[in-house]
């Protein structure tokens, strides 16, 4: 069946144009971004695994080995089922260290540029047959669809278009690790095309050729059984070997590694693919036997032409052939695009850049981009050449197995990389070399030369001599590879750098870098150092990019921050030019200082890593991590300031209380040197560490413009069994206690003054009594009204002095009135009037106006002298707070059972911070020397005696300033209620 050259060109070129259009639609944003970034797109892009092998090779294998063809799908399904323990750790590593290929990963883990080059060469040799397979299927499909005489030339044309696409949409970014949305979406589109085409072909076979599943089953049990019985089944060992090969291929093949790990994605998306990709592959695998049985039912001849292209013979309808061609074209083009991108990156980073380091290249990014584009074209054309020279002479299964067995040689090294920190470079290289040599001699060289395979069978395995060559080579090469890797690794020494990298890669280990300081002092210094290697512009761009990613300032000089900056720059450069060159550059131009004593593990960094790995911990490790977090939380939330320093003076901890006290959050200062901490902390903490004693008591420190008194305690952290040392310092804020101590001293002084005053009052009492008696005598001795009035005023004032003295003595004796007067109805208007009269006697506040608005008939039961004392105090305070022309208003009104008295002034008011302490002794708003702080406590005490209440509004509602004192006095006191003693609890 052929549809002619014109139709073929229309179909092929039309499809590739559609691919360009799809890429353009994504790039221009015609397709919504959330759709492009959907996890399903990523899973479909992983469908690139289903290469032309899945379309034609599987048919070939199904024809030869029945359900043995499923190994190709089930191997990768098994690998993705193990995503959490196998693929996620690889993804974490590639993401953290910006490793874009298998060669990057091996070069990083085994700390050698030669390892990277070796893996690149092995990948190149292994992938060439796979590329040749894609080109061969394309060529054969063209031949079957068009019947043309020159399928190879047409295939070359298609290869050129595919290379152009890869260059245009896959090599835009210099960094291999940047996510290419366009590329992923296009590969996902290709996966959809091949899936739909295969399902359509399968459906045609099932319902077009057979009458549904039941008819098919009947045919298989009847007439078709003879054909199936001729199928030679794989023995279990061969089947398991095939499964293992395809299991390894799912993450070792350059195109799979590229999509699964280099295209940045989240862990969740990868885990979602653990079931979604097997589902995709199930749908891809399902039509394969249907097509085969359909073709057998139609009586299609397979003895000479094989099984691979049976789909073209299912029907004479043009669209069946077109579907078979489109499925193959979509599968082959996707695989070729991603393989060319992945291999070009590997060749660039591990062969070209290692041989020709890009030091001081004028326009580094442009140079790298063009180099990569040339390599993409070279890889695709290399695949076409391989097909023309070698592949044309071999079937699909042979080509595919050579490729998969070659790449499987990296499987032992990969598993050791993840799960065995004891493996070293010598072991890995020796094992890989042996495995690759067996593979080359047994499969690859015979492929090229058509010479018989040379297969080395170790003693004891001679019984396997008659088995299939691919099986023997797989068995021997992988067994020797593993054995040599283990033996050499155990027998040879591992370098410290390699050990550190092994810890970084190991699934269960956490990297423990040393706290070494760098020669460069800050981000700006980094640019200067790196400019010598990368040129001014690139150095600035790389450092700024790393600073921005870490959210650091270019002037941040903390050793911890600089180490993270160095790591980030190394990772970023690794994404551009591979880990080997990146490491060479940072080692040479951003070196560590090794002259520092006492640098131990970077605890802060280790902790941050542990936080990130938490979900991966199990059993005892998880319990221990829970304890660590609990202790960490205890220290962080300790309500006392705490900080810790390493022996080298680097700050390792700065808890929340200290952050509140200092105003510097932990993440801004942790990792800084002690002497570079902001003032006054650097000097203060250095001082306490230099002190011979373990404490510094009430050290005055200026913080936030005020003086604070801090007490510091220190303790050493050294232990004989642990190399981690340093000091921990507790910082307590004793400012409040110092203030209270000062207040106590002040109160003690006032108390002694009070005692003195009580003594003085007692002494004053006698002369006052004398004055009062004399005034009394004077009244009897004269009739002069003026003298009588003066004598009366003298007596009145001496009575007042006596009562004040009595009150003072009473207050000094615990605030209890000692007069013992009985309560009687008191006119509040009269008391206020008398208080105003007394106030007028004082000279201060003469300009203040007083308004007594109390109604004459308002009376409360009480002690008139005590209430007079209250009013004198309140009006006196109001006068002192008022401006010279201010007003003081005294008002009273009866409210139910209470008399509500207010004293309102329009003065400066009372500070909010003082309001809660106004009724405490020695609290005053007046300037020093003018108030004792005893007036309001006395008022409170008297009002309490009268079962009343007092409250303050400052400012009063509706006013901008001033104060209003509210007094509530009961209008009636119940019988039997204590009249002379105030309630001490009030």
């Amino acid at each position: 069946m052929s549809t002619g050259l014109g139709n073929l060109l229309a179909l092929g070129i039309g499809y590739l144009l559609l691919l360009f259009l799809c890429a353009l639609a994504v790039e221009r944003g015609w397709i919504p971004r959330h759709f492009v970034r959907h996890p399903a797109i990523y899973t479909l892009a992983l469908g690139v695994y289903a290469s032309a092998w899945a379309i034609y090779g599987s048919l070939e294998l199904a024809g030869r080995a029945g359900f043995g063809y499923l190994a190709y799908y089930l191997g990768v399904a098994g690998a993705f089922l193990l995503a959490p323990v196998l693929l996620v750790p690889i993804q974490r590593l590639t993401h953290t260290y910006q490793l874009a290929s298998l060669a990057d990963l091996f070069a990083f883990r085994f700390r050698s540029r030669w390892v990277g080059a070796f893996i690149t060469l092995v990948s190149l040799l292994a992938v060439l047959p796979l590329l040749g397979l894609q080109v061969q299927t394309l060529s054969n499909a063209i031949l079957r669809l068009s019947g043309t005489d020159a399928p190879a030339l047409l295939t070359l044309g298609f290869c050129c278009l595919i290379a152009l696409f890869a260059i245009l949409f896959g090599a835009r970014h210099t960094r291999l690790h940047d996510r290419h949305d366009t590329l992923l979406a296009t590969i996902a589109f290709e996966s959809v095309v091949k899936l739909v085409a295969m399902l359509a072909l399968g459906a045609f076979a099932l319902f077009g050729i057979f009458d549904g599943p039941a008819d098919l089953q009947a045919w298989l049990d009847g007439p078709g059984h003879a054909a199936q019985a001729e199928t030679r089944h794989l023995d279990p060992a061969q089947w398991r070997t095939l499964l293992l090969l395809f299991f390894g291929a799912s993450f070792l093949m350059p195109h799979m590694f590229h999509i699964a790990f280099a295209e940045t994605l989240s862990r969740q998306t990868l885990l979602q693919a653990s079931w979604a990709l097997p589902l995709f592959l199930l749908l891809m695998a399902l039509p394969v036997p249907l097509i085969l049985w359909g073709a057998q039912h139609q009586g299609v001849e397979t003895a000479t032409t094989g099984f691979a292209y049976l789909a073209f013979s299912l029907s004479t309808s043009w669209w069946v052939g077109a579907l078979a061609f489109l499925a193959g074209l979509a599968a082959a083009s996707g695989t070729m695009i991603i393989i060319s991108l992945a291999l070009s990156g590997m060749i660039l980073n591990h062969l070209v850049l290692v041989a020709h380091p890009p030091v001081a290249q004028p326009d580094l990014y442009r140079w790298l981009r063009w180099l990569r584009r040339a390599l993409i074209a070279a890889v695709i054309l290399g695949g076409w050449l391989f097909y023309r020279l070698v592949g044309i002479h071999h079937d699909l299964v042979t080509l595919g197995l050579v490729a998969f067995i070659g790449m499987a040689q990296c499987l032992p090294g990969m598993l050791a990389l993840l799960y065995w920190p004891g493996a070293n470079r010598k072991g890995m290289v020796a094992g890989l070399s042996v495995g690759v040599l067996v593979w080359l001699a047994g499969l690859w060289v015979p492929l090229l030369t058509d010479q018989p395979a040379w297969i080395f069978l170790p003693p004891g395995l001679e019984v396997l001599a008659g088995e299939a060559e691919w099986y023997l080579v797989s068995l021997v090469s992988l067994s020797l590879n593993i054995l040599v890797l283990i033996l050499v690794s155990l027998a040879s020494r591992t370098s410290p750098g390699e050990r550190a990298a092994a810890e970084a890669c190991s699934v269960d280990a956490v990297i423990r870098p040393k706290r070494l300081p760098l020669v460069a002092a800050n981000g700006t210094d980094f640019k200067r150092h790196l400019a010598r290697a990368l040129g001014e512009e690139v150095a600035h761009r790389e450092v700024d990019r790393a600073l921005s990613a870490l959210d650091l300032s270019p002037l941040d000089g903390r050793p911890y921050a600089l180490r993270r900056l160095r790591d980030r720059i190394q990772a970023n450069l690794s994404g551009v030019m591979g880990p080997s060159v990146a490491q060479d550059i940072v080692d040479r131009y951003l070196p560590y200082r090794h002259d520092v004593r006492g640098a131990t593990e970077d605890i802060h960094f280790v902790e941050s890593r542990l936080e990130a790995y938490r979900s991966r911990l199990t059993g005892l490790a998880r319990e221990l991590d829970g304890l660590r977090r609990y202790h960490r939380r205890t220290l962080t939330r300790l309500p006392v300031g705490l900080c810790a320093f390493g022996d080298d003076g680097e700050l390792l901890m700065w808890n929340d209380a200290l952050a509140d006290l200092s105003g510097f959050p932990g993440n801004a200062v942790v990792g800084a040197r002690r002497d570079s901490l902001p003032p006054p902390w650097g000097k203060l903490l250095s001082r306490v560490l230099a002190e011979p004693h373990d404490h510094l008591y009430k050290e005055p420190v200026e913080l936030d413009g005020g003086m604070r008194y801090l007490t510091l305690h220190k303790a050493g952290l050294h232990d004989d069994e642990d190399e981690r040392g340093g000091h921990v310092i507790l910082v307590e804020d004793h400012s409040e206690m110092k203030w209270l101590e000062d207040e106590l001293v002040h109160a003690a002084r006032l108390a002694s003054i009070g005692q003195l005053a009580a003594g003085v009052a007692h002494e004053i009492g006698n002369p006052i009594t004398g004055i009062s008696s004399l005034a009394q005598n004077l009244r009897y001795d004269t009739d002069d009204p003026q003298v009588l009035e003066t004598a009366g005023q003298i007596q009145q004032l001496t009575d007042r002095v006596s009562r004040i003295v009595g009150s003072l003595v009473g207050f000094a004796h615990g605030g209890r009135h000692v007069g013992g007067r009985a309560f009687a109805p008191v006119s509040i208007a009269a008391v206020t009037e008398e208080a105003l009269h007394l106030i007028h006697l004082a000279r201060s506040g003469e300009d203040v106006r007083y308004h007594n608005r109390c109604a004459a008939g308002l009376e409360v039961p009480g002690d008139d002298q005590r209430l007079l004392q209250v009013m004198v105090n309140l009006i006196g305070n109001a006068r002192d707070a008022s401006a010279p022309s201010g007003e003081v208003v005294i008002d009273a009104e009866a409210q139910e059972n209470w008399l509500h008295v207010t004293v309102t002034d329009d003065g400066h008011g009372i500070d909010a911070s003082m309001r809660d302490h106004l009724f405490e002794p020695f609290t005053t708003t007046k300037p020093p020397g003018e108030g004792t702080g005893l007036g309001l406590p006395l008022v409170y005490s008297i009002i309490a005696e009268h079962r009343g209440q007092i409250d303050i509004d400052s400012p009063p509602p509706g006013c901008r300033h001033g104060t209003r004192i509210h007094l509530w006095l009961p209008l009636n006191l119940e019988d039997g209620e204590r009249r002379h003693e105030p309630d001490p609890d009030r």
Binding site: Q217, Q228, P236, L271, L282
Partner: protein, 58 residues
Amino acid sequence: MYVYRIMLFLVFGGYLLSPLLMSGWASPGVAWYRPFVIWGVLIALTLWLEQKRRLDER
């Protein structure tokens, strides 16, 4: 993490028992779609384990 152990058990158990899948190809009376049904059940099991793992990690 216990979910991962179940997955490991499934994969290695499946690896050892998988040759049984091939026996259905030419056996009369055995449904041709049997391997795909088993495969589908495994996928459903993985989906269930994956959702369980997500809940565990919350």
